[in-house]
Symmetry: C2
Subunit: 164 residues, 2 copies
DNA sequence: TATTGTTATACTCTATAACTATA
DNA sequence: TATAGTTATAGAGTATAACAATA
């Protein structure tokens, strides 16, 4: 019951009373009219497009997001990265481990606080990041091709209003 | 790497070169311009609103969605319900178990195929479904209150274009 | 042989709690 | 005392594979 990922749902009062035992298309009831469910379907679609680009490399959208933030915010601490992405410290730590094991990031001791590290991309990491971004851009292109040019900023604006 | 739920990400070429070791707000880079990330944030927001309504009852958006589909499609088989929600048969089976344990649904032997069941709400289940729908409607009201009346159908139309 | 549903199993991801080393 | 990071652990949810009964 948190920001994890499951199915989306919502509910409403539509009714259907017929018995259908051998059919294929079901009535989705309230889900036709409610925001949460199509929101989830769209997200799943986007997620799968991106996951396909990453293939079986072990890279996931989540893991890439950490790499992206490190790239844009070199020297951030793990706590800061985790907060930005709403990840617990242990989860963040494990993702940093994932990238460090692949020589993509390094933990540099902080000069100000010996408890923490600044996280940085390595040269290898910069290359990997760039390659992965290409995949991300392909996925994004596929997704946004379903919309017109006007609709993209429109959607972004609407989505921005929905989030916390 | 499927329709499960994790974080959303995408990536792009923004750059930032400053070292910031003790700060709070990070640069989100490509995520400011790309559809997938705000899509995920909006979905998480919607998910959490709904999960809050369900509280610690054990009901999840996923589980509710199965109940909703049973309500609108009485007599559907487990396979049909699972297909509609992109759930594996074992996962569907366990969710049906969840509701059956709470006397909310029943498996009626199919007259045509003795391998399968038609799934139906019990009287208890109809009441529970109705109560849960009230929670769903409250969550939906909170979510859609972030948009104007015009924007809601606009968003629904855009989201519909994005999904598979 | 193929399909419905179940059971067994394993995997991924996550969070909480406990620990360490600093502050 | 409180915080940064790590480790240990457990939980939720999922899928695949193997199985039974039936088609």
């Amino acid at each position: 019951m948190d920001a994890a990922g499951k199915t989306e749902d919502f509910g409403g009062p539509d009714e259907a009373q017929d018995v259908r035992e051998g059919e294929a298309v079901l009535d989705f009831g309230i889900y036709k009219h409610v925001i949460g469910f199509p929101l989830k379907l769209a997200w799943v679609s986007a997620y799968n497009l991106l996951a396909s680009e990453f293939g079986d490399s072990g890279v996931t959208p989540q893991r890439f997001s950490v790499l992206e933030l490190i790239s844009c915010n070199p020297g951030s601490t793990q706590t800061e990265l985790g907060n930005a992405l709403r990840l617990s410290r242990p989860a963040t730590s494990l993702i940093i481990d994932f990238w460090q094991d692949r020589d993509c990031v390094e933990r540099r001791p902080s000069p100000r606080d010996r408890r923490s590290f600044g996280i940085y991309l390595t040269e290898t990491g910069k290359g990997v990041h760039k390659e992965l971004q290409a995949g991300v851009n392909r996925a994004e292109a596929k997704l946004s091709s379903r919309l017109s040019e006007d609709e993209i900023p429109q959607l972004l604006a609407l989505l921005a209003k929905l989030r916390d």
